[in-house]
Amino acid sequence: MIGAAPLWLSIFFSLHIVMVNLGIGLAWLVPYFKYMADKRNDKDLEITARELMRFYAATYGLAGVFGTAFTVFLLSYYPRFIGAAGHIASVPFAIAVTAIGVQFFSIVAFWYGWDRFSKRTLYIIGGFLALSALLIPFGFRAVFAFLNIPAGLEATLTPSGIKWGLNLVAALKNPTFAPLYIKSIAGAFTLTFVVVLSIYLYRGLTSSNDDIKERSLKIAKIMSEPSIIGLAIMPVLGLWYGLSLENIPYKFNNIFAPLGLKVGDGIAYYNVGWLFIIKLIFYAIQVIGVLAAIRFLQKGSKSIKALSLLFLVTAALAMGTVASGELLNAYSQYPFFIASWPNVMTGSISLSTLVHKYGVVVYPHSLNSIRELVNYINSFVLIDGSSSARGVILRLTRKGLDPAFLDLSLNSVNRIAVTKGVIVLTTLFVSVLIFFAAWLLKTAITPKGELYS
């Protein structure tokens, strides 16, 4: 059951990435609300900051669980890839992991010190919280950019094996890194703003408690402006990232060629234009939702039911936009771990471009060394050997891709990790756990005394 590997990874990665994005936004929003609450002596902001902090702690924990699950699944399905990533990407991973540690303890300290520490101390901890939230994606996005173009890769070939390295400066100069990182941060903030806006509006519309109603609408009002600004910025940043993908014709065409925008041979070998359209639709509904929210906050409305439903949908689609964007980024390079690799193998990105433009260095400097390295990378670069992947490879062979990829794809997934028994067991277990997780969430959010009374 080869296709099961990307399927499970997609599910766990989507859940992980949505939580992580909310976490980035909340890491800034909570300290900001707390600061403003203290400055203006505003109780509403204080209560909201506490509410959001509780939600943040829960999402941080869940993001960790799904992230760990994703990593272990990745290791089980693609051990060679993980092994190579461990050798090469030590520094960006180390940045991310260190920041995860700082963030964890900042969360604990911020939460514990809320009423106990001096305001100054608390704001400093809030600063660590916010900073670490930016550093985690800095490390991980450097890895993602490397998976677009292996910029900065260093390899020394010796008779006693390959020694790996990464030139960090060249890696950060990767043309896809800056747009990807900045777009990710802006996306995380926009998602958080829109979700907070929508949820508080929903609560404001549906709550029977006047205090809660008033406070919720007040918070929604604060969030409405940043939400629409975020939504306005996102297409610009999306365009920037999209343009940077021109350096990787394979990936660019898979997304944009079906929509008429083409580079290189202009062929979409694995068409994911539909996912881009879905993302745009999600985005458009979000814009409608946020505009409706602004209008409602300014002028009010009588269609409470319809609006509350719209705001719920807006929150859900904000998360859906992030998930679909991430899947789009991943699927558009399917079935290759390194997006530019099919272009390298078919000659549309020359080896000298890799060397001179992207800082890839192979020692000793010889054609033979490069050939040996390329062969080595070929051995773990494929994601799976499902029929759709083989179809893509077959079409690429007509453009000059080594036909060996067809055979290599047969064993690109660790077969013992995708046996029928393991997949059935996984499905059963995850289903049962999702049931209990839903029960947990219901228990956690229901006020005391209203459950099982």
């Binding site: 272990v72 993980i82 092994g83 992991v97 260190t98």
Partner: protein, 623 residues
């Protein structure tokens, strides 16, 4: 003779960093293993007695592990990334060959998260019976998680099919000169044909027989149905092949070529048989190294010399992978780690350690609260007394189990399957002053390990220092025996265990006062038979509780150090040495980043201790 010390093995910096990371994780997760079980038992007692104090005890214990679980999850993530970054080859091997327990552990982790938080959020919302059920799944999730991870660690200590080099007895045999220790390996016949079998047999490879015939098994490798011959191979050869495979050697640079182990006749056969060649290339998954024309089946005869060159330029890993995969399938890909002879004792001992540490720490918390709080109302005092009795009895039972049952089983497993480690633990070298030797403990050790005092312990000096070295390449050049320093760590663990054992016995007896005449008489001997918790001596005993909890942690740490350092120079016994497991990225080997990360970890641990103290102790003090 120089005593091989811990730092004489490769990469002491990386190992120290891993030690700090994993020790921080282990120190925390022992509570996640122990406290939920104690909560479950307390809730069961509450269900039976309907005394609300028991529910309160359970709630306090739950509060403890909720905080620690969150931190444990964070340190676990950091440890996981640490393994990937510092030991990528080990990580890759684990993911490829023994992935199943790691994969299954994820579900355990999710189970833990859900039920531990369900217990917390649902405390005032569920019925008592539901709480008992949830606490059952909470501790089960933690134990299930431990069962999976420890199976991987056990595999690393002693893979199934391991044939040790020491045969115990009154006149023990040392089989190192006969190619022991050996590992059982299944080699696909397609690959075996490429090798010079006669030469292999002369290097100490043995064929496993069944009913007098060579044992072969049918299995599928890389999608090709084949047969594999089951053999036992000296670890000196296995580790060399694994080293060459994971370091990225090409076959032409391998010991297989240097020692003329390649069967050139078979290459000529393959040159004439495209079908067989295609089959071999599929099994070793090496299409990108072979010209497409070789595989089309159109050319009936290839130039054997050219084909030989092609095969020589394929990485060793491609040849090694089907051998390791066949071996894994021979033992069962989902069960191989659980078949380690080390597994059951390890699981018993690790859970025992967690119960000891958790119960002594909980006992310390309750006893300090009782000692330091003034003007307690009678209700609260009664709750504390109950909690003290519970945790004291629990600690006494746990330390008894740990010392006499699981500890014994663990020791027997080490004695039989890791004789080199056993020799180092006992410090049986004439050039080393061991604790066991000074205290004349070898006799009792023989009795415990082998059931007879007439048996002999493995002599460290009789173990060849280079038993794991591949003679053809001279690798590894360092001493293959574990460092003798583990004699100190092991006996440090034992003596600390005895101290906390005696302490546990005393507090356990005190807790059971008035419940048995025998116990009361015993307490009389110590003059602590009046109202115990108020008596000065008893108060002195209680005031030691925090120190005892610290000793329990220290003892547990020393046990882990003995286990892990005692495995050196292996990362996976008989297969992979530490330097092979490590990253080749130069950044990882620089001192500055290593020290910085180590300091970062230590500071995290300090923050955790302060946080736990403030949240668990200070907040309840205010109340």
């Amino acid at each position: 003779m120089s005593i091989p010390s811990w730092s004489s093995y490769p990469l002491p910096g990386l190992r120290a960093l891993s030690f700090i990371g994993i020790e921080v994780h282990w120190a925390i997760l022992q509570y996640v293993l122990g406290l939920p079980f104690m909560t479950f038992i307390a809730l069961l007692i509450y269900l039976r007695t309907k005394n609300g104090k028991w529910k309160r005890i359970a709630k306090t214990l739950t509060k403890g592990f909720i905080i620690l679980f969150a931190v444990g999850a964070a340190t676990g993530t950091a440890s996981e990334f640490g393994l990937v970054l510092l030991w990528p080859n080990l990580t890759e091997a684990a993911g490829r060959y023994i992935y199943f327990p790691l994969y299954a552990e994820i579900f355990a982790f999710m189970m833990e998260v859900i039920f531990i938080y369900l217990l917390w959020y649902g405390w005032n919302r569920f019925s008592d019976k539901a709480l008992v059920a949830i606490s059952f799944f909470a501790f089960l999730g933690a134990w299930y998680s431990a069962a999976m991870i420890l199976s991987v660690n056990s595999f690393m200590q002693g893979p199934p099919g391991l044939k040790p080099a020491f045969v115990p007895g009154p006149h023990p045999k040392y089989l190192y000169s006969e190619g022991y220790p050996r590992l059982t390996v299944a080699v696909p016949l397609d690959i075996l044909h490429l090798l010079n079998v006669t030469k292999l047999l002369s290097l100490g490879v043995n064929v496993v027989t069944h009913n007098g015939k060579p044992l072969t098994v049918g299995l599928t490798v890389s999608g090709v149905k084949t047969k594999a011959l089951v053999i036992t191979m000296p670890v000196s050869i296995v580790q060399e092949l694994v080293r060459e495979g994971f370091k990225g050697f090409l076959l032409k640079d391998s010991v297989l070529v240097k020692a003329n182990l390649i069967n050139s006749t078979e290459i000529k056969v393959l040159a004439k048989n495209p079908y067989e060649l295609h089959r071999l290339i599929t099994i070793i998954n090496a299409y990108q190294y072979v010209p497409a024309t070789y595989l089309e089946g159109t050319s009936t005869t290839l130039d054997p010399q050219q084909l030989g060159q092609v095969l020589l330029n394929i990485p060793v890993k491609n040849y090694l992978d089907p051998i390791l995969m066949s071996t894994v399938k021979y033992f069962g890909y989902a069960t191989i780690t659980f078949k380690s002879p080390d597994y059951v004792p390890t699981l018993m001992h690790a859970i025992g350690s967690a119960l000891v540490v958790s119960s002594f720490t909980a006992f310390a918390g309750f006893s300090l609260r009782l000692l330091r709080s003034k003007d307690l109302d009678e209700d609260y005092r009664d709750y504390l007394r109950k909690a003290l009795v519970y945790t004291a009895v629990f600690a006494a039972i746990a330390i008894f189990y740990q010392g006499f049952i699981s500890g014994h089983e663990m020791g027997v497993a080490v004695a039989h399957y890791n004789p080199e480690k056993f020799a180092a633990i006992e410090g049986t070298s004439a050039h080393f002053k061991s604790i066991a030797g000074v205290l004349h403990l070898h006799g009792i050790t023989k009795l415990l390990a082998y059931g007879s005092m007439r048996y002999s312990l493995p002599n460290y000096d009789k173990i060849p220092p280079h038993y794991c070295q591949c003679k053809l390449t001279g690798y590894p050049s360092y001493d293959c025996r574990p460092p003798l320093m583990i004699d100190y760590t092991y006996y440090g663990m034992v003596f600390l265990g005895i101290i906390i054992g005696i302490y546990g016995l005393i507090v356990g007896l005190i807790a059971l006062r008035d419940r048995s005449v025998l116990i009361d008489k015993l307490l009389g001997i110590f003059r602590i038979n009046s109202y115990i918790w108020k008596e000065p001596l008893a108060r002195k005993i209680l005031s030691l509780s925090l120190f005892m909890a610290f000793l329990a942690q220290l003892s547990s740490t020393l046990g882990w150090v003995t286990r892990e350092v005692g495995r050196k120079p292996w990362t996976i016994y008989g297969m992979m040495t530490v330097d092979v497991a490590s990253s080749t990225n130069k950044v990882v080997h620089e001192t500055g980043p290593l020290v910085a990360i180590a300091l970062f970890y230590i500071s995290l641990l300090l923050v955790l201790i302060i946080t736990a103290y403030k949240i668990l102790w200070k907040s309840s003090e205010r109340r």
